[in-house]
Each structure stands twice: as C-alpha cells, then as structure tokens.
C-alpha cells in the first residue's frame, strides 16, 4: 500500500514536470504513465508485482548510477585525479556483486512464480466462453447456451479510421476502442475463455482483467478471470499480435454486469435453435 502511494506521489511529480507538455487529454494523468490496477485479483497482483520489480530496479539504479556519477564527478582528469592502476581485481568484491544480485533475483522470482501458478489455474469455471479471432474481429460463443456474439469495430470508429474520412478521432466516443456488439460477463463469477483463431495469430488482451492470450489456429488456449463483485463496468482492450491490415481495428469490449443481469441478457439472446455463425465480413 505504502509503495503504491509512493508511486502515485512520484507519478504526480513527474506529471507536474510534464505539465508544460501538450497533455491535453489525460483526465487522470497517472493512468497515462503506468499499468492499470484493473478489476480482477490477477490484475491487481500483477500490478503489485510490476511495482515491486520497478522499485527493485530503481533501487539498483540508484546504487549503480550513484557510484558511476561519483566517479564522473570526482575521478576526472581535469580535477587532477591520479589513476589507481593497481585496482584491477578484487575477489571479495567480485564475489559480493555476483551473489547479491542472485539473492535479489531469487527474492523476485519467488512471488512471480507463485503468482504465475495462481493465475494459470483455470479449474472450476462458472462461465465458459469460446473466443475465436478472425481478420478482423472476435466471435464469442457461450458454451452450454445458444448465445453467440460477433464483435467488430463500431461503425463510428470504423468510419473515422478510413483514409480521408475527415472525422476527428476525439469526436468519436472511444475511438478504436468500441465495438458493435460487446461481450457480456457476470461479475463475481469465474469466467474461462477458450481462445482460438480461424486464420492468423491474434491475441486477446484486456488490461483491466490482466488477461492476454494468443489466439492461434489449431490451438485452444485457456485463460480465466473473476471480476470483483463491486466492479461492474465496461473494460476495453485490443488485439496485441500483428494480424494484418486490420490489426489496429479489432478492439475488445467486455461489459461486466451483475449475475442477475447476465442471466437476463443470456435469456434475451438465446434462440431455440443454435444460431448459425455469420460469416465475418472483410474490412474494405
């Protein structure tokens, strides 16, 4: 907690310096600088691990750069420094600077390994969704139901993204981060994604959920998340594996609702017969 507060302090001071820069957009500046904490226990743990690693690196940098800067200032020829040519070897020092890093690394590896095992636990899901990437969009099939959603970039973003569209991106709500049909999930329930692709490799990423997994033809990858019960909302992400011309134009939008609302949504979108998937239309 203390660390996070310190981080925010540092962030705000950096922002204060950067305040003269054209920071027209950022409402909350910290979000522009750092990883989001997110809304799942995985994303929060990842954030904590990230901050821990960052501060370890800052600590090492202060020590190493400090010694270097000391040398740069005080061991200059122009200050009349005389080189100590006998200083070429010291077993003691060399043992220390080999073992200390090893200990620091072990200290970082243990929490990282624990978290890795924890967030790769995909057992006992309450909701199963098959996610299929295609050029360029995502298809979501709710397993055990007849509900299927094909999700592509929203018409307004699509229109604004065309060459010579003349539409200002800031005038489009969530430019490049909005879709025609959102994927709906319940909060407080474990959702498992079964991720694949029908053409090239894509990658499904929503930073606030702490989930990024490649969608690979011929493979079914697993990932799961549980959104905190008090955090319903809309969470946005993008494809993160280069997949051709439309790579920047296949956003992901997850709408997290209460379990009751989720059930109602499912019911509304279920059809008595399994709906045939529509063929994805290619971007012109």
């Amino acid at each position: 907690m203390k660390r996070a507060r310190l981080g925010r302090l540092l962030g705000s001071s950096v922002l204060g310096l950067a305040g003269r820069l054209p920071l027209a957009w950022g409402a909350s500046g910290w979000d522009e600088l750092n990883m989001p904490r997110g809304v799942t226990s995985a994303s929060k743990s990842i954030y904590a691990l990230h901050m821990m690693a960052l501060w370890v690196c800052v600590g090492i940098a202060v020590v190493v750069f400090g010694v270097m800067i000391w040398s740069l200032i005080f061991h200059r020829k122009s200050r009349g420094a005389v080189p100590d040519v006998t200083l070429t070897h010291s077993t003691k020092v060399e043992v220390v600077w080999t073992t200390v890093p090893v200990l620091i690394l072990v200290g970082m590896a243990i929490p990282a390994a624990r978290l890795l095992v924890k967030i790769n636990n995909n057992t006992d899901p309450q909701v199963n969704i098959r996610v299929t990437g295609f050029q360029w969009g995502w298809r979501y099939q709710y397993l055990g139901t007849t509900v299927s959603v094909i999700s592509k970039i929203s018409a307004s973003s699509n229109a604004a993204s065309q060459l010579h569209s003349g539409i200002r991106p800031t005038s489009v709500p969530h430019y490049l981060l909005s879709v025609d049909h959102q994927v709906v999930v319940p909060v407080g329930e474990k959702v498992r994604l079964l991720i694949t692709s029908i053409d090239v490799i894509h990658s499904w990423w929503v930073p606030d959920l702490g989930v990024k997994r490649d969608a690979i033809p011929g493979y079914i990858n697993e990932a799961s998340f549980t959104i905190a019960a008090d955090r319903p909302g809309t969470y946005r992400g993008q494809c993160t594996e280069l997949c051709g011309r439309g790579h920047a134009y296949m956003p992901i939008v997850v709408r997290a609702v209460t379990p009751a609302a989720y059930q109602a949504w499912l019911k509304k979108h279920s059809s008595p017969r399994a709906r045939r998937p529509r063929t994805p239309r290619q971007r012109p």
């Binding site: 750069f65 991106p169 990024k212 992400g237």
Partner: protein, 535 residues
C-alpha cells in the same frame, strides 16, 4: 635477407590496385572493413527514413499518412534493415578493420572468402528493398515473420526469404573468417587471455552466428515450402503447427540479440579503460561473463512467447533462465563501473558514448528484468513497453557503441583527427533526444498501447507526440555523423603520434597513424605485446 626485406617494403607500399578494381576485387581487410561500414551507414540511413515515416504516422491519433498495410511494411522493413543491414554489417566492418590490427595479424585468414561475404550483401539488400516495388508491396507481417500471416503476402515473400538466405550465408562466411583468423593468426605471444575484449566478444559472437543463422534459414525455408510446395510445417489445416515456427524463430532470435550486443560490450571494454587511464577491472571475469551470456542465450527463447500458452512449467523455466542472464550482465556493468572508479577520466567523444551506453543500456536491462517476470509480461507483451525495451538496448546500446568505436578508431584508420566539437554536438543531440524518443514509449506500453498499430486511441496522443518529436530531432542529428567522418578523412588534422589517446593500450596503437595498407607484415615484438596487454 636484405633482398627479402626490400620485397617486403616494396609490398607495403605497392600492390594497392587502383580504381574500381581495388573495391570489387578487394582482399585487404581494411578495404573490406571500410566497405562494410559504408554499407552499414547507408542501410542505417534507409532504416532511419522508415523510422521517421513511422513516427510521422504515429504523431497523433487519426493521422493517416499511410495505408495500414504500407505502415506494416514500414515497421517490418525498418526492423529487418536495422538488424541485418545496419548493426550486423557494422560489427563485421569493425571486426575486419580491428581484429587483425589487435592480434598482430597481417590480414584476415581467408581474404577471398572475405570479399565474397561482403559482396553478397548489396544483392541481398537490393532484393529486400526492391520488394517495396512489387505488386502488393513489401512484406507486412513484422520482422518476426510469423505464419500464417506471413503466408498472405505476394511476390515480396519469396524475395525477402531469398534476401535472408543471402544475408545468412554472408554472416556465416564472415563468422568463419573471424574464428579462423583469431584461432590461427594471432601473433606469437598473443595468448587467448591476452586478447583485447573486442576480439574476445567477436570470437564468441562468431560462434553464435554459426550456430543460429542456419536455424533462421531453416525456419524461413519451411515457410517457403509451405507456400509453394504444399508442405504443412506451420499450417494447422494440414496438421502443422504455427507455434513451431515461433519456437524455431526465437531459438535463432534470442542468440541474435546477443550477436547484436556482444561486440558492443567489447568496444565499451576498450574505450572505458583508455579514457579512465586505468586497466580494465576484472578482465578474466569479463571473458567468462561474455561466454556465460552466450551460453544462456540458447535456453531463454521462450520468454518471447509467454502468451502463446506454453505449459506453466515451461514458462517457469524460461522465466528463471532469463533472470539468470542478469547475473553475468550485472558483472559486466559492475566491472565497467569499477574500471572508472579511481581512474583519471576525460570525456572525449568515444568516452561520452561509452558512458551514455552504461546508463542507457542499464535502463534497457532493467526493463528486460521486468519483462522476464511472466505475470507482468502478460501485461507488457506486445505493447510499446517492449518496443521501448529493445530500442533502449539497441540504439543507445549497440548503435552508441558503434559510434563510440568509430570515434575511437577513426584517427587510426584515417590518420587524421575529426572535429571534436561537432562530434560532441552529435553526442549531446543523440543522447538527449534518444531519451525523448524512447522513454515515453514505456508509459504508452503500460497504459495499454499495442505495438505495430498505425492508429491509436486519442488518450495515447500526448506521449506519442513527444516520442515523435524526439525521433525527428534524433534522426536529423544523425546526419552529423557521416559529415564528421567525411570531413575528417578529407581535411582532418593529421596525427603524428601512433595514438591520439594518451591512455590507449593495444597492438593497434603500436602502428603508425594511419595504419599502413599492409600492417603487421612482421609480427609485433614482445615489448609491444607487453605494452598492449597493459590494457
């Protein structure tokens, strides 16, 4: 005996073919080295123009200078040109010039092979660049060339693969030449553990090249047969496996990273002792650290693919092995710092670039350590955080080391001193704006901007603008570099002494400036070796 000496003296001044023959039929290591460096500088300029185009397109959200496919071609070609066209040939050029001078050899061991390995390159580059002009444009699947996306490109696809084959052959031939030269042509008394660090790092790099360039050739050839001969190595529909390509590619790709940076470690290890006027701290530890980094580079490739869905045990293995690399890398940095400690430092341009290397390469190392932690990598992977990371290790890392090396040895090559004031301008512009260019990309990646996208959501605009402005000024200031070098060769102040640097040790500084066309026709004396080995 007297006659023999006469012939030797005669040979030293003559036998220098004139006109185009000198270059096309070149077998002299200095001429070939020069050609490599000129080729590298040219490709650096072309790759740099691609980078400027990329930064222009990314100047603000909704910028539409290029079609998305053209943008993808630009990022792809920028990566390939900079790696295979600029940095690798620059290292081979420096190796050609410096290894024979530093080990007391009259030339490279295999001069005609040397000629071949250089002259393959112009054809390879022409083929690669020409692919911009074929129907469908250049390959736009990223320099990593992942299938099945790679299979979607037209005539440019086989052109690129053939170009990679040519560059691979050139690299392997160059590497063989380096190994044979170092193993066989060292002057009497130049034992392995007396060799300068640049020679050591290049020896290890050469083994890496021989080990992994065939792997790359195999990977792209399998793509070629998938495309044209109906095989299904990477085609899931035919029972193949796209992830196999990722494994094979990164088995090449990670050692490749060290191919790009190990010679930089060598150059930094030459420059810092010279301008600290103090021998390198922990010479043997440096050699062993380099060797361990090279060994580890073969068992960490999985860290490029933590999100492809490898088993948890495999992810754990690759995380731990990757973190282990921090130990020998740390040893190297600590040794450089200890070399400066209680030295007598002065800040001529080579030293400025070396000191900047120490700071900025370390920043790249820190982000590398963060990327090694798999859970965090799930968030960083495929974002601008990764772009910032590898540009920190390659630009203020490898490229600054190349600049440092050229500013260090240019007086030896040309016999003239360059304009120090301009070189310092080049340094300060580079070091300031390389940070303006790349540091904000850390923020962009953490805030969620994926790499390789031609357009982005408006909240990423501010830092992209900062980055682009930094990029334009950084790019423009690189024009100083060829200007400084050409001005030096044409009208620099001639150097009388063997070395313009009072703290320099090593056999190359026992030769006159400029180094004679044929050097070390007679091996260096033990006194020279002893003086050189003071480092």
């Amino acid at each position: 005996m007297a006659e023999l000496h006469q012939t030797a003296a005669h040979a030293e001044h003559d036998h220098k073919p004139h006109g185009w023959r000198r270059w096309v039929f070149a077998t002299n290591h200095k001429d070939i080295g020069t050609m490599y460096l000129i080729a590298a500088a040219t490709m650096f300029l072309i790759g740099g123009l691609a980078a400027m185009a990329i930064r222009a397109q990314l100047f603000k959200s909704g910028m539409k200078l290029f079609d998305p496919t053209m943008f993808n071609s630009l990022t792809t070609m920028h990566g390939l040109i900079m790696i295979f066209g600029a940095i690798m040939p620059a290292w081979v050029g420096l190796a050609n010039w410096m290894i024979p001078l530093q080990i007391g050899a009259p030339d490279m061991a295999l001069p005609r092979l040397n000629n071949l390995s250089f002259w393959i390159l112009p054809f390879a580059f022409t083929l690669m660049l020409a692919s911009f002009f074929v129907p469908g444009g250049a390959v736009a699947g990223g320099w990593t060339m992942y299938p099945p996306l790679m299979q979607q490109f037209g005539a440019a696809f086989p052109m690129l693969i053939f170009a990679i084959h040519l560059m691979g052959i050139s690299s392997i031939l160059g590497a063989i030449n380096v190994i044979v030269t170092i193993m066989n042509l060292r002057a009497p008394g130049m034992t392995l553990l007396r060799m300068p660090l640049f020679v050591w790092t290049w020896l290890i790099t050469a083994y890496l090249l021989i080990a992994v360039m065939p792997v790359l050739a195999g990977a792209v050839t399998m793509q070629l047969t998938d495309h044209f001969f109906g095989t299904s190595f990477f085609n899931a529909a035919g029972g193949g496996d796209p992830v196999l390509f990722l494994h094979v590619f990164w088995f090449f790709g990670h050692p490749e990273v060290y191919i790009l940076i190990l010679p930089a470690f060598g150059i930094i290890s030459e420059i810092i002792p010279t301008f600290s006027r103090k021998p390198l701290f922990g010479y043997e530890a440096m050699v062993y650290a380099t060797a361990s980094i090279a060994f580890l580079s073969f068992i960490v490739w999985g860290h490029h693919m933590f999100t492809v869905g490898m088993p948890v045990a495999a992810q754990l293995f690759f995380m731990l092995s990757t973190m282990l690399i921090a130990v020998p890398t740390g040893v190297k940095v600590f040794n450089w710092v200890a070399t400066m400690w209680r030295g007598s430092l002065s800040f001529e341009p080579p030293m400025l670039f070396a000191v900047a290397f120490l700071f900025l390469f370390s920043i790249g190392g820190f982000s590398g350590l963060m990327l090694a932690l798999v859970p965090s990598d799930y968030q960083y992977h495929g974002t601008y955080f990764v772009v910032a990371h590898f540009h920190y290790v390659l630009v203020p890392g490898a490229v600054f080391a190349i600049f440092g090396g050229v500013y260090y040895w240019l007086p030896k090559w040309s016999g003239r001193m360059y304009d120090m004031r301009l070189a310092k301008w080049h340094f300060w512009l580079s070091v300031i704006f390389v940070n303006v260019l790349f540091f904000p990309q850390h923020f962009l990646g953490l805030a969620g901007m994926p790499r390789r996208i031609p357009d982005y959501a408006p909240q990423f605009t501010d830092w992209n603008m900062v980055s682009s402005i930094g990029g334009f000024i950084f790019g423009a200031s690189q024009v100083l570099f060829p200007y400084i070098v050409i001005k030096c060769i044409r009208s620099g102040k001639p150097i009388e002494a063997n070395s313009p640097w009072d703290g320099a040790h090593g056999l190359e500084w026992e030769l006159p400036c400029p180094a004679p066309y044929h050097s070390w026709q007679t091996p260096p004396t033990e006194a020279m070796l002893a003086h050189g080995a003071e480092h």
